[in-house]
Protein backbone atom coordinates (compact mmCIF):
# COMPACT_ATOMS: atom_id res chain seq x y z
CA UNK A 1 0.00 0.00 0.00
CA UNK A 2 1.28 3.47 -0.81
CA UNK A 3 2.02 5.63 2.19
CA UNK A 4 1.17 9.11 3.41
CA UNK A 5 3.98 11.61 3.19
CA UNK A 6 4.32 14.77 5.30
CA UNK A 7 6.74 17.58 4.50
CA UNK A 8 8.33 18.86 7.71
CA UNK A 9 9.01 22.53 7.88
CA UNK A 10 12.09 23.29 9.94
CA UNK A 11 13.02 26.67 11.40
CA UNK A 12 16.32 26.93 13.26
CA UNK A 13 16.54 23.17 13.69
CA UNK A 14 13.04 22.87 15.11
CA UNK A 15 10.22 21.07 13.33
CA UNK A 16 7.24 23.41 13.20
CA UNK A 17 3.99 22.66 15.01
CA UNK A 18 1.95 22.47 11.82
CA UNK A 19 4.16 19.64 10.51
CA UNK A 20 3.82 17.65 13.73
CA UNK A 21 0.05 18.22 13.66
CA UNK A 22 -0.03 16.87 10.11
CA UNK A 23 2.01 13.82 11.11
CA UNK A 24 -0.55 13.15 13.86
CA UNK A 25 -3.39 13.45 11.33
CA UNK A 26 -1.49 11.30 8.83
CA UNK A 27 -1.05 8.57 11.47
CA UNK A 28 -4.83 8.45 11.91
CA UNK A 29 -5.53 8.39 8.18
CA UNK A 30 -2.84 5.73 7.72
CA UNK A 31 -4.62 3.61 10.32
CA UNK A 32 -7.74 3.64 8.14
CA UNK A 33 -5.81 3.05 4.94
CA UNK A 34 -3.53 0.43 6.50
CA UNK A 35 -0.38 2.16 5.33
CA UNK A 36 2.52 3.98 6.93
CA UNK A 37 3.52 7.59 7.43
CA UNK A 38 6.72 9.01 5.98
CA UNK A 39 8.06 12.34 7.21
CA UNK A 40 10.42 14.32 5.02
CA UNK A 41 12.94 16.58 6.76
CA UNK A 42 15.00 18.78 4.47
CA UNK A 43 17.42 21.24 6.01
CA UNK A 44 20.75 21.67 7.71
CA UNK A 45 22.00 20.23 11.02
CA UNK A 46 19.27 17.60 11.34
CA UNK A 47 21.14 15.26 13.72
CA UNK A 48 18.36 15.03 16.32
CA UNK A 49 15.48 15.19 13.86
CA UNK A 50 14.43 11.65 14.77
CA UNK A 51 13.95 12.66 18.40
CA UNK A 52 11.60 15.45 17.39
CA UNK A 53 9.50 13.48 14.93
CA UNK A 54 9.43 9.95 16.39
CA UNK A 55 7.10 10.76 19.32
CA UNK A 56 4.35 11.62 16.84
CA UNK A 57 4.43 8.27 15.12
CA UNK A 58 5.93 8.72 11.64
CA UNK A 59 7.17 5.27 10.62
CA UNK A 60 9.87 6.52 8.29
CA UNK A 61 11.83 9.76 8.33
CA UNK A 62 13.67 10.80 5.18
CA UNK A 63 16.43 13.08 6.35
CA UNK A 64 18.22 15.29 3.83
CA UNK A 65 20.94 17.32 5.47
CA UNK A 66 22.96 19.90 3.58
CA UNK A 67 24.16 23.40 4.46
CA UNK A 68 22.64 24.75 1.26
CA UNK A 69 19.17 23.54 2.29
CA UNK A 70 18.70 26.11 5.07
CA UNK A 71 17.10 28.58 5.04
CA UNK A 72 14.36 27.28 2.77
CA UNK A 73 14.49 28.25 -0.88
CA UNK A 74 12.02 26.94 -3.44
CA UNK A 75 14.10 25.19 -6.05
CA UNK A 76 16.44 23.01 -3.94
CA UNK A 77 13.61 21.96 -1.60
CA UNK A 78 11.26 21.14 -4.45
CA UNK A 79 14.01 19.21 -6.27
CA UNK A 80 14.72 17.07 -3.19
CA UNK A 81 11.08 16.65 -2.15
CA UNK A 82 10.04 15.75 -5.68
CA UNK A 83 12.85 13.18 -5.86
CA UNK A 84 11.61 11.55 -2.63
CA UNK A 85 8.00 11.52 -3.84
CA UNK A 86 8.93 9.96 -7.17
CA UNK A 87 10.97 7.28 -5.42
CA UNK A 88 8.41 6.41 -2.74
CA UNK A 89 5.13 7.08 -4.55
CA UNK A 90 2.93 8.04 -1.61
CA UNK A 91 -0.83 8.16 -2.16
CA UNK A 92 -1.25 11.31 -0.04
CA UNK A 93 1.08 14.26 0.54
CA UNK A 94 0.39 16.79 3.30
CA UNK A 95 2.14 20.14 3.64
CA UNK A 96 1.62 22.99 6.11
CA UNK A 97 -0.23 25.97 4.62
CA UNK A 98 2.54 28.40 5.57
CA UNK A 99 4.54 30.75 3.40
CA UNK A 100 6.94 27.84 2.89
CA UNK A 101 4.31 25.17 2.23
CA UNK A 102 2.23 27.38 -0.02
CA UNK A 103 5.37 28.14 -2.02
CA UNK A 104 6.52 24.52 -2.25
CA UNK A 105 3.32 22.47 -2.64
CA UNK A 106 2.02 24.05 -5.87
CA UNK A 107 5.45 23.78 -7.49
CA UNK A 108 5.51 20.07 -6.66
CA UNK A 109 1.90 19.50 -7.73
CA UNK A 110 2.69 21.13 -11.04
CA UNK A 111 5.69 18.96 -11.77
CA UNK A 112 3.93 15.78 -10.63
CA UNK A 113 0.78 16.90 -12.49
CA UNK A 114 -1.40 16.05 -9.55
CA UNK A 115 -4.22 17.80 -7.72
CA UNK A 116 -3.66 20.07 -4.75
CA UNK A 117 -6.19 21.62 -2.38
CA UNK A 118 -5.11 24.62 -0.32
CA UNK A 119 -6.04 25.43 3.28
CA UNK A 120 -8.13 22.36 4.06
CA UNK A 121 -10.10 22.48 7.28
CA UNK A 122 -10.72 18.73 7.36
CA UNK A 123 -9.36 15.58 5.75
CA UNK A 124 -11.43 12.40 5.62
CA UNK A 125 -11.10 9.07 3.83
CA UNK A 126 -14.07 8.06 1.70
CA UNK A 127 -15.29 6.67 -1.60
CA UNK A 128 -16.21 8.53 -4.75
CA UNK A 129 -18.28 7.68 -7.79
CA UNK A 130 -17.58 9.67 -10.92
CA UNK A 131 -20.97 11.13 -11.89
CA UNK A 132 -20.25 10.81 -15.63
CA UNK A 133 -18.46 7.49 -16.01
CA UNK A 134 -19.98 5.85 -12.96
CA UNK A 135 -16.50 4.66 -12.09
CA UNK A 136 -16.04 3.97 -8.39
CA UNK A 137 -12.97 4.96 -6.46
CA UNK A 138 -12.30 3.52 -3.01
CA UNK A 139 -10.57 5.27 -0.14
CA UNK A 140 -9.86 8.66 -1.60
CA UNK A 141 -8.83 11.64 0.47
CA UNK A 142 -11.74 14.05 0.90
CA UNK A 143 -10.18 17.51 1.02
CA UNK A 144 -12.68 19.75 2.72
CA UNK A 145 -12.48 23.53 2.75
CA UNK A 146 -14.67 26.58 2.78
CA UNK A 147 -14.75 28.16 -0.67
CA UNK A 148 -16.04 31.20 -2.42
CA UNK A 149 -15.54 33.63 0.39
CA UNK A 150 -16.77 31.06 2.86
CA UNK A 151 -20.30 30.88 1.53
CA UNK A 152 -19.96 27.22 0.73
CA UNK A 153 -18.03 24.20 1.95
CA UNK A 154 -16.45 22.20 -0.83
CA UNK A 155 -15.34 18.58 -0.71
CA UNK A 156 -12.60 18.04 -3.25
CA UNK A 157 -11.24 14.72 -4.47
CA UNK A 158 -8.46 13.76 -6.89
CA UNK A 159 -9.71 10.45 -8.29
CA UNK A 160 -7.27 9.87 -11.13
CA UNK A 161 -3.96 11.37 -10.11
CA UNK A 162 -1.60 10.45 -7.31
CA UNK A 163 -0.43 11.69 -4.93
CA UNK A 164 -3.44 13.51 -3.54
CA UNK A 165 -1.98 16.72 -2.13
CA UNK A 166 -3.36 19.09 0.46
CA UNK A 167 -2.13 21.98 2.57
CA UNK A 168 -3.49 22.64 6.06
CA UNK A 169 -2.96 25.62 8.34
CA UNK A 170 -1.39 25.52 11.75
CA UNK A 171 -3.76 24.51 14.55
CA UNK A 172 -6.39 22.87 12.34
CA UNK A 173 -5.24 19.36 13.23
CA UNK A 174 -4.33 18.24 16.73
CA UNK A 175 -0.80 17.28 17.72
CA UNK A 176 -0.98 13.86 19.36
CA UNK A 177 1.75 11.61 20.69
CA UNK A 178 2.06 8.05 19.42
CA UNK A 179 2.62 5.08 21.71
CA UNK A 180 5.52 5.42 24.12
CA UNK A 181 8.85 4.20 22.82
CA UNK A 182 7.66 4.43 19.25
CA UNK A 183 10.73 4.55 17.03
CA UNK A 184 10.87 5.88 13.52
CA UNK A 185 13.27 4.51 10.96
CA UNK A 186 15.54 7.27 9.71
CA UNK A 187 16.64 7.08 6.10
CA UNK A 188 19.43 9.45 5.16
CA UNK A 189 19.44 10.74 1.61
CA UNK A 190 22.46 12.36 0.01
CA UNK A 191 21.29 15.50 -1.79
CA UNK A 192 24.50 15.85 -3.82
CA UNK A 193 23.14 13.67 -6.60
CA UNK A 194 19.80 15.48 -6.67
CA UNK A 195 20.78 19.14 -6.55
CA UNK A 196 22.00 21.07 -9.52
CA UNK A 197 23.70 24.46 -9.75
CA UNK A 198 20.63 25.99 -11.40
CA UNK A 199 18.60 25.14 -8.29
CA UNK A 200 20.40 27.96 -6.49
CA UNK A 201 19.16 30.78 -8.72
CA UNK A 202 17.53 32.44 -5.70
CA UNK A 203 19.78 33.47 -2.81
CA UNK A 204 18.63 34.65 0.60
CA UNK A 205 20.70 37.71 1.43
CA UNK A 206 18.88 38.92 4.53
CA UNK A 207 16.48 37.31 6.98
CA UNK A 208 14.70 38.54 10.09
CA UNK A 209 12.35 36.03 11.63
CA UNK A 210 10.83 36.87 14.97
CA UNK A 211 9.87 34.37 17.58
CA UNK A 212 6.16 33.81 17.87
CA UNK A 213 4.90 36.78 19.87
CA UNK A 214 1.35 35.67 20.26
CA UNK A 215 0.49 32.17 21.37
CA UNK A 216 -3.17 31.98 20.47
CA UNK A 217 -3.21 28.25 19.84
CA UNK A 218 -1.92 27.56 23.33
CA UNK A 219 -4.24 29.92 25.15
CA UNK A 220 -7.12 28.64 27.31
CA UNK A 221 -9.14 31.83 27.10
CA UNK A 222 -9.42 33.99 24.00
CA UNK A 223 -11.11 37.36 23.79
CA UNK A 224 -11.58 38.00 20.08
CA UNK A 225 -12.76 41.13 18.36
CA UNK A 226 -14.36 41.68 14.99
CA UNK A 227 -15.20 44.59 12.79
CA UNK A 228 -17.84 45.57 15.32
CA UNK A 229 -15.12 46.62 17.76
CA UNK A 230 -14.87 49.67 15.54
CA UNK A 231 -11.30 50.82 16.03
CA UNK A 232 -7.80 50.01 17.16
CA UNK A 233 -8.60 51.84 20.40
CA UNK A 234 -11.66 49.65 20.82
CA UNK A 235 -9.32 46.67 21.06
CA UNK A 236 -7.84 48.20 24.23
CA UNK A 237 -11.01 47.17 26.00
CA UNK A 238 -10.52 43.60 24.78
CA UNK A 239 -6.90 43.70 25.91
CA UNK A 240 -8.06 44.71 29.35
CA UNK A 241 -10.60 41.90 29.62
CA UNK A 242 -8.03 39.39 28.36
CA UNK A 243 -5.51 40.62 30.90
CA UNK A 244 -7.95 40.43 33.77
CA UNK A 245 -9.16 36.90 33.00
CA UNK A 246 -5.74 35.65 31.89
CA UNK A 247 -6.34 35.19 28.18
CA UNK A 248 -5.05 36.26 24.79
CA UNK A 249 -6.64 38.64 22.31
CA UNK A 250 -7.70 37.31 18.93
CA UNK A 251 -9.28 39.00 15.93
CA UNK A 252 -11.41 38.23 12.92
CA UNK A 253 -10.11 38.80 9.40
CA UNK A 254 -12.36 41.83 9.03
CA UNK A 255 -10.78 43.41 12.11
CA UNK A 256 -7.27 42.65 10.85
CA UNK A 257 -8.04 43.94 7.36
CA UNK A 258 -9.41 47.13 8.90
CA UNK A 259 -6.15 47.59 10.79
CA UNK A 260 -7.67 47.17 14.27
CA UNK A 261 -5.42 44.24 15.10
CA UNK A 262 -2.37 42.41 13.77
CA UNK A 263 -2.35 39.38 11.49
CA UNK A 264 -0.64 37.20 14.11
CA UNK A 265 -3.87 37.40 16.11
CA UNK A 266 -6.20 36.40 13.30
CA UNK A 267 -8.44 33.46 14.07
CA UNK A 268 -10.02 31.56 11.22
CA UNK A 269 -9.38 29.70 8.02
CA UNK A 270 -6.62 32.06 6.90
CA UNK A 271 -5.37 32.64 10.42
CA UNK A 272 -4.95 30.41 13.43
CA UNK A 273 -7.30 27.65 14.51
CA UNK A 274 -7.94 27.63 18.25
CA UNK A 275 -9.67 25.36 20.76
CA UNK A 276 -9.68 27.24 24.05
CA UNK A 277 -11.77 26.51 27.12
CA UNK A 278 -13.54 29.81 26.56
CA UNK A 279 -13.87 31.94 23.43
CA UNK A 280 -15.42 35.35 23.84
CA UNK A 281 -16.41 36.75 20.44
CA UNK A 282 -16.89 40.51 20.61
CA UNK A 283 -18.49 42.26 17.67
CA UNK A 284 -17.84 39.27 15.42
CA UNK A 285 -20.67 38.35 13.08
CA UNK A 286 -19.29 34.84 12.60
CA UNK A 287 -18.56 34.17 8.93
CA UNK A 288 -17.82 30.52 8.18
CA UNK A 289 -14.09 31.19 7.74
CA UNK A 290 -13.98 32.59 11.24
CA UNK A 291 -16.08 29.82 12.74
CA UNK A 292 -13.81 27.25 11.08
CA UNK A 293 -11.04 28.57 13.28
CA UNK A 294 -12.87 28.59 16.61
CA UNK A 295 -15.91 26.32 16.63
CA UNK A 296 -13.94 23.66 18.48
CA UNK A 297 -13.84 25.91 21.54
CA UNK A 298 -15.26 24.27 24.65
CA UNK A 299 -17.42 27.27 25.43
CA UNK A 300 -18.36 30.27 23.32
CA UNK A 301 -19.75 33.56 24.50
CA UNK A 302 -20.77 36.07 21.87
CA UNK A 303 -21.33 39.74 22.43
CA UNK A 304 -23.19 41.35 19.57
CA UNK A 305 -25.73 44.10 19.06
CA UNK A 306 -27.29 42.03 16.32
CA UNK A 307 -29.40 39.22 17.73
CA UNK A 308 -29.43 37.60 14.28
CA UNK A 309 -25.63 37.41 13.96
CA UNK A 310 -24.61 33.88 12.85
CA UNK A 311 -22.13 33.67 15.71
CA UNK A 312 -25.02 33.58 18.19
CA UNK A 313 -26.23 30.27 16.87
CA UNK A 314 -23.00 28.52 17.83
CA UNK A 315 -22.59 30.40 21.08
CA UNK A 316 -23.39 28.86 24.45
CA UNK A 317 -24.24 32.27 25.72
CA UNK A 318 -25.22 35.14 23.45
CA UNK A 319 -25.12 38.55 25.05
CA UNK A 320 -27.20 40.95 22.99
CA UNK A 321 -25.67 44.33 23.56
CA UNK A 322 -22.90 46.75 22.77
CA UNK A 323 -19.49 45.35 23.68
CA UNK A 324 -18.38 48.77 24.89
CA UNK A 325 -20.96 48.53 27.61
CA UNK A 326 -20.89 44.75 28.19
CA UNK A 327 -17.13 44.27 28.57
CA UNK A 328 -16.65 46.80 31.38
CA UNK A 329 -19.40 44.97 33.27
CA UNK A 330 -17.67 41.64 32.70
CA UNK A 331 -14.41 43.07 34.01
CA UNK A 332 -16.12 44.60 37.01
CA UNK A 333 -18.03 41.49 38.04
CA UNK A 334 -15.10 39.19 37.38
CA UNK A 335 -12.89 41.27 39.66
CA UNK A 336 -15.57 41.42 42.31
CA UNK A 337 -16.27 37.71 42.39
CA UNK A 338 -12.90 36.13 41.69
CA UNK A 339 -11.36 37.12 44.98
Amino acid sequence: MNNICVYCEIEEGKVSDVSLELISKAVKLAGELKCEVEAVAIGSGLIDIGKQISPFGAHIIHSVDDKRLYPYTTLPHSAVFEHILRENKPQIVLVGATSVGRDLAPRIASSLKCGLTADCTDLVIGDYTDPKSGHEYKNLLYQIRPAFGGNIIATIVNPETKPQMATVREGVMKKEHAAKNFKSTVKVIDPAKILDKVDFAVKVIERHIEQKKVNLAGSQVIVAGGFGVGSKEGFELLNELAKVVGGEVGASRAAVDAGFSEHARQVGQTGVTVRPKLYIACGISGAIQHRAGMDGSAQIISINTDSEAPINSIADVAIIGDLHSVIPKMIKYYKEQSK
Binding site: T73, S110, K113, P146, N151, T155, V157, N158, D316, Y333
Partner: protein, 291 residues
Protein backbone atom coordinates in the same frame (compact mmCIF):
# COMPACT_ATOMS: atom_id res chain seq x y z
CA UNK B 1 17.08 47.12 -24.83
CA UNK B 2 13.52 47.01 -23.71
CA UNK B 3 12.52 45.48 -20.39
CA UNK B 4 9.38 43.38 -20.72
CA UNK B 5 7.12 42.56 -17.81
CA UNK B 6 4.09 40.30 -18.04
CA UNK B 7 1.57 40.93 -15.26
CA UNK B 8 -0.91 38.14 -14.54
CA UNK B 9 -4.21 39.60 -13.36
CA UNK B 10 -7.61 38.12 -12.73
CA UNK B 11 -11.14 39.40 -12.63
CA UNK B 12 -12.84 37.97 -9.56
CA UNK B 13 -16.26 38.09 -7.95
CA UNK B 14 -16.04 40.34 -4.92
CA UNK B 15 -16.38 37.63 -2.30
CA UNK B 16 -15.58 40.10 0.46
CA UNK B 17 -18.82 41.95 -0.10
CA UNK B 18 -21.26 39.14 -0.29
CA UNK B 19 -24.83 40.27 0.00
CA UNK B 20 -27.98 38.39 0.90
CA UNK B 21 -28.68 37.40 -2.69
CA UNK B 22 -25.25 35.92 -3.33
CA UNK B 23 -26.43 32.40 -2.73
CA UNK B 24 -29.26 30.85 -4.68
CA UNK B 25 -31.85 28.84 -2.81
CA UNK B 26 -30.30 25.59 -4.06
CA UNK B 27 -27.03 26.50 -2.37
CA UNK B 28 -25.08 27.42 -5.49
CA UNK B 29 -23.34 30.71 -5.94
CA UNK B 30 -25.23 33.40 -7.76
CA UNK B 31 -22.28 34.88 -9.63
CA UNK B 32 -24.34 37.55 -11.27
CA UNK B 33 -25.18 39.03 -7.88
CA UNK B 34 -21.53 39.61 -7.10
CA UNK B 35 -19.71 42.55 -8.64
CA UNK B 36 -16.64 41.61 -10.71
CA UNK B 37 -13.51 43.37 -9.54
CA UNK B 38 -9.77 43.47 -10.17
CA UNK B 39 -8.29 40.90 -7.82
CA UNK B 40 -6.79 43.04 -5.03
CA UNK B 41 -3.33 41.48 -4.87
CA UNK B 42 -3.04 41.65 -8.66
CA UNK B 43 -3.35 45.42 -8.30
CA UNK B 44 -0.44 45.30 -5.86
CA UNK B 45 1.42 43.31 -8.52
CA UNK B 46 0.62 45.86 -11.22
CA UNK B 47 1.95 48.64 -8.99
CA UNK B 48 5.28 46.81 -8.60
CA UNK B 49 5.49 46.59 -12.40
CA UNK B 50 4.65 50.28 -12.74
CA UNK B 51 7.37 51.19 -10.26
CA UNK B 52 9.89 49.34 -12.41
CA UNK B 53 8.58 51.23 -15.42
CA UNK B 54 9.13 54.48 -13.50
CA UNK B 55 12.78 53.56 -13.09
CA UNK B 56 13.73 51.65 -16.22
CA UNK B 57 13.04 53.57 -19.38
CA UNK B 58 11.66 51.57 -22.23
CA UNK B 59 9.79 49.14 -19.97
CA UNK B 60 6.81 47.45 -21.52
CA UNK B 61 4.03 46.12 -19.29
CA UNK B 62 1.85 43.43 -20.78
CA UNK B 63 -1.28 42.30 -18.95
CA UNK B 64 -2.30 38.70 -19.31
CA UNK B 65 -5.67 37.62 -18.01
CA UNK B 66 -7.89 34.60 -18.46
CA UNK B 67 -11.64 34.53 -18.15
CA UNK B 68 -14.91 35.26 -19.91
CA UNK B 69 -15.04 38.05 -22.54
CA UNK B 70 -15.97 40.68 -19.93
CA UNK B 71 -12.59 40.11 -18.22
CA UNK B 72 -11.24 42.53 -20.85
CA UNK B 73 -12.19 45.15 -18.24
CA UNK B 74 -9.11 44.11 -16.30
CA UNK B 75 -6.89 44.97 -19.23
CA UNK B 76 -8.50 48.39 -19.69
CA UNK B 77 -8.27 49.06 -15.95
CA UNK B 78 -4.55 48.28 -16.22
CA UNK B 79 -4.07 50.49 -19.27
CA UNK B 80 -5.63 53.42 -17.39
CA UNK B 81 -2.79 52.94 -14.91
CA UNK B 82 -0.12 52.82 -17.63
CA UNK B 83 0.09 49.19 -18.72
CA UNK B 84 0.99 49.09 -22.41
CA UNK B 85 -1.03 46.24 -23.81
CA UNK B 86 -2.99 43.18 -22.90
CA UNK B 87 -3.96 39.68 -23.86
CA UNK B 88 -7.21 38.01 -22.84
CA UNK B 89 -7.20 34.22 -22.83
CA UNK B 90 -10.81 33.32 -23.43
CA UNK B 91 -12.37 30.16 -24.71
CA UNK B 92 -15.27 28.12 -23.39
CA UNK B 93 -13.12 25.03 -23.73
CA UNK B 94 -10.91 26.34 -20.90
CA UNK B 95 -13.85 26.50 -18.49
CA UNK B 96 -13.90 24.43 -15.33
CA UNK B 97 -10.11 24.49 -14.99
CA UNK B 98 -8.50 24.04 -11.61
CA UNK B 99 -5.17 25.67 -10.80
CA UNK B 100 -3.12 23.03 -12.62
CA UNK B 101 -5.05 23.34 -15.87
CA UNK B 102 -5.14 27.13 -15.51
CA UNK B 103 -1.39 27.46 -15.01
CA UNK B 104 -0.83 25.19 -18.00
CA UNK B 105 -2.83 27.46 -20.30
CA UNK B 106 -1.25 30.61 -18.84
CA UNK B 107 2.23 29.19 -19.34
CA UNK B 108 1.39 28.39 -22.96
CA UNK B 109 0.18 31.96 -23.48
CA UNK B 110 3.36 33.33 -21.89
CA UNK B 111 5.44 31.17 -24.21
CA UNK B 112 3.53 32.61 -27.13
CA UNK B 113 4.01 36.21 -25.95
CA UNK B 114 7.67 35.35 -25.37
CA UNK B 115 10.71 37.51 -24.81
CA UNK B 116 9.99 38.61 -21.25
CA UNK B 117 12.27 39.59 -18.38
CA UNK B 118 9.87 39.26 -15.50
CA UNK B 119 6.44 37.87 -14.68
CA UNK B 120 4.54 39.41 -11.77
CA UNK B 121 1.22 38.35 -10.32
CA UNK B 122 -0.72 38.72 -7.11
CA UNK B 123 -0.03 36.09 -4.47
CA UNK B 124 -3.57 34.76 -4.62
CA UNK B 125 -7.06 35.56 -5.86
CA UNK B 126 -9.88 36.19 -3.40
CA UNK B 127 -12.29 33.76 -5.08
CA UNK B 128 -10.13 30.76 -4.22
CA UNK B 129 -7.33 31.96 -1.95
CA UNK B 130 -5.18 29.08 -3.19
CA UNK B 131 -1.96 30.95 -4.13
CA UNK B 132 -1.19 28.09 -6.51
CA UNK B 133 -1.31 29.49 -10.02
CA UNK B 134 1.84 31.62 -9.60
CA UNK B 135 4.18 28.82 -8.48
CA UNK B 136 2.59 26.34 -10.90
CA UNK B 137 3.11 28.72 -13.82
CA UNK B 138 6.74 29.24 -12.75
CA UNK B 139 7.28 25.48 -12.65
CA UNK B 140 5.81 24.97 -16.11
CA UNK B 141 8.07 27.69 -17.52
CA UNK B 142 11.02 26.34 -15.55
CA UNK B 143 11.56 29.73 -13.90
CA UNK B 144 12.70 30.61 -10.40
CA UNK B 145 9.81 31.90 -8.27
CA UNK B 146 9.69 34.47 -5.50
CA UNK B 147 6.38 34.38 -3.62
CA UNK B 148 5.00 36.67 -0.89
CA UNK B 149 6.87 39.70 -2.30
CA UNK B 150 6.29 42.95 -0.46
CA UNK B 151 8.66 45.12 -2.45
CA UNK B 152 10.86 44.80 -5.49
CA UNK B 153 13.89 46.57 -4.06
CA UNK B 154 15.90 46.66 -7.24
CA UNK B 155 15.52 45.32 -10.71
CA UNK B 156 17.79 45.39 -13.71
CA UNK B 157 18.28 43.31 -16.81
CA UNK B 158 19.06 39.80 -15.58
CA UNK B 159 18.79 40.41 -11.83
CA UNK B 160 16.15 41.22 -9.22
CA UNK B 161 16.19 41.82 -5.45
CA UNK B 162 12.94 41.31 -3.58
CA UNK B 163 11.78 41.75 0.00
CA UNK B 164 9.39 38.97 1.03
CA UNK B 165 6.75 39.21 3.77
CA UNK B 166 6.58 35.97 5.74
CA UNK B 167 4.37 35.03 8.71
CA UNK B 168 6.85 36.11 11.31
CA UNK B 169 9.32 38.32 9.55
CA UNK B 170 10.91 39.34 6.32
CA UNK B 171 13.47 37.93 3.95
CA UNK B 172 15.41 39.63 1.18
CA UNK B 173 16.25 37.44 -1.77
CA UNK B 174 18.11 37.90 -4.99
CA UNK B 175 17.35 36.04 -8.18
CA UNK B 176 18.45 35.84 -11.74
CA UNK B 177 15.92 36.88 -14.39
CA UNK B 178 13.65 35.88 -15.96
CA UNK B 179 11.73 34.89 -12.85
CA UNK B 180 8.17 34.91 -11.57
CA UNK B 181 7.26 37.07 -8.57
CA UNK B 182 3.96 36.90 -6.65
CA UNK B 183 3.04 40.00 -4.65
CA UNK B 184 1.55 40.06 -1.16
CA UNK B 185 -1.26 42.41 -0.13
CA UNK B 186 1.07 44.26 2.23
CA UNK B 187 2.89 45.73 -0.80
CA UNK B 188 2.30 49.30 -1.97
CA UNK B 189 -1.26 50.01 -3.08
CA UNK B 190 -1.79 50.59 -6.76
CA UNK B 191 -1.82 54.11 -8.09
CA UNK B 192 -5.19 55.47 -9.25
CA UNK B 193 -6.31 55.62 -12.84
CA UNK B 194 -4.76 58.41 -14.85
CA UNK B 195 -7.32 60.61 -16.62
CA UNK B 196 -5.21 61.08 -19.75
CA UNK B 197 -4.64 57.38 -20.05
CA UNK B 198 -8.33 56.82 -19.44
CA UNK B 199 -9.15 59.04 -22.41
CA UNK B 200 -6.53 57.31 -24.50
CA UNK B 201 -7.59 53.75 -23.79
CA UNK B 202 -11.29 53.89 -22.98
CA UNK B 203 -12.18 52.56 -26.41
CA UNK B 204 -9.69 49.70 -26.27
CA UNK B 205 -11.58 46.60 -27.36
CA UNK B 206 -11.15 42.93 -27.96
CA UNK B 207 -12.13 41.39 -31.28
CA UNK B 208 -15.29 40.02 -29.69
CA UNK B 209 -16.27 43.42 -28.30
CA UNK B 210 -15.51 45.07 -31.63
CA UNK B 211 -18.09 42.89 -33.34
CA UNK B 212 -20.81 44.28 -31.12
CA UNK B 213 -20.10 47.90 -32.14
CA UNK B 214 -22.46 49.18 -34.81
CA UNK B 215 -20.73 52.51 -35.14
CA UNK B 216 -18.61 52.27 -38.30
CA UNK B 217 -16.50 55.27 -37.44
CA UNK B 218 -15.61 53.85 -34.04
CA UNK B 219 -14.94 50.50 -35.58
CA UNK B 220 -12.56 52.00 -38.10
CA UNK B 221 -10.80 54.12 -35.47
CA UNK B 222 -10.06 51.10 -33.34
CA UNK B 223 -8.89 49.10 -36.33
CA UNK B 224 -6.50 51.89 -37.29
CA UNK B 225 -4.98 52.23 -33.85
CA UNK B 226 -3.08 49.18 -32.70
CA UNK B 227 -2.94 50.35 -29.09
CA UNK B 228 -6.74 50.12 -28.88
CA UNK B 229 -6.75 46.46 -29.76
CA UNK B 230 -6.80 43.93 -26.97
CA UNK B 231 -5.66 40.62 -28.29
CA UNK B 232 -7.75 37.54 -27.58
CA UNK B 233 -6.15 34.14 -27.30
CA UNK B 234 -8.30 31.05 -27.79
CA UNK B 235 -7.38 27.40 -27.67
CA UNK B 236 -6.66 27.59 -31.41
CA UNK B 237 -4.01 30.25 -30.81
CA UNK B 238 -2.17 28.28 -28.14
CA UNK B 239 -0.39 24.98 -28.57
CA UNK B 240 -2.25 23.26 -25.74
CA UNK B 241 -2.88 19.57 -25.48
CA UNK B 242 -6.63 19.25 -25.06
CA UNK B 243 -6.37 16.62 -22.37
CA UNK B 244 -4.58 19.13 -20.15
CA UNK B 245 -7.14 21.94 -20.27
CA UNK B 246 -10.52 22.72 -18.76
CA UNK B 247 -12.40 20.27 -16.63
CA UNK B 248 -10.72 17.26 -18.27
CA UNK B 249 -7.26 18.58 -17.48
CA UNK B 250 -8.09 19.27 -13.85
CA UNK B 251 -7.09 16.56 -11.39
CA UNK B 252 -9.18 18.05 -8.60
CA UNK B 253 -12.92 17.35 -8.78
CA UNK B 254 -15.59 18.85 -6.62
CA UNK B 255 -17.30 15.92 -4.96
CA UNK B 256 -19.93 18.06 -3.34
CA UNK B 257 -20.78 21.54 -2.28
CA UNK B 258 -22.52 22.10 1.00
CA UNK B 259 -24.39 25.19 1.75
CA UNK B 260 -23.24 26.52 5.05
CA UNK B 261 -25.82 25.45 7.55
CA UNK B 262 -25.59 26.70 11.07
CA UNK B 263 -25.94 23.96 13.58
CA UNK B 264 -28.08 25.70 16.09
CA UNK B 265 -26.94 25.23 19.64
CA UNK B 266 -29.24 25.79 22.55
CA UNK B 267 -27.82 29.20 23.18
CA UNK B 268 -28.73 31.06 26.26
CA UNK B 269 -29.55 34.61 25.29
CA UNK B 270 -28.94 37.29 27.85
CA UNK B 271 -29.21 41.06 27.79
CA UNK B 272 -26.70 43.72 28.65
CA UNK B 273 -27.87 43.95 32.24
CA UNK B 274 -25.80 44.05 35.42
CA UNK B 275 -27.61 41.15 37.06
CA UNK B 276 -27.27 38.88 34.01
CA UNK B 277 -23.60 39.58 33.46
CA UNK B 278 -22.79 39.28 37.14
CA UNK B 279 -24.44 35.88 37.12
CA UNK B 280 -22.56 34.81 33.99
CA UNK B 281 -19.17 35.77 35.40
CA UNK B 282 -20.00 33.98 38.63
CA UNK B 283 -20.85 30.80 36.69
CA UNK B 284 -17.60 30.99 34.72
CA UNK B 285 -15.59 31.29 37.91
CA UNK B 286 -17.51 28.55 39.69
CA UNK B 287 -17.12 26.01 36.91
CA UNK B 288 -13.41 26.87 36.64
CA UNK B 289 -13.61 28.17 33.09
CA UNK B 290 -12.04 31.34 34.41
CA UNK B 291 -9.59 31.82 37.22
Amino acid sequence: MAFRIIVLAKQVPDTRNVGEDAMKSDGTVNRSALPAIYNPEDLNALEQALQIKDKIKDTEIIILTMGPPRAADIIRESMYRDADKGYLITDKRFAGADTLATSYVISKAIEKIGNYDLIISGRQAIDGDTAQVGPQTAEKLNLPQITYAEEIISCEKGKITVKRRLERGIEVVESSLPALVTVHGSAAVCRPKNSKLFMKYKHAKTQTELQTIDDDYMNQTIKNRAYLQIEELSLDDLSCEECKIGLAGSPTKVKKIDNVVLQGKDSKVIADKDTDIKHLMNDLIKNHTLG
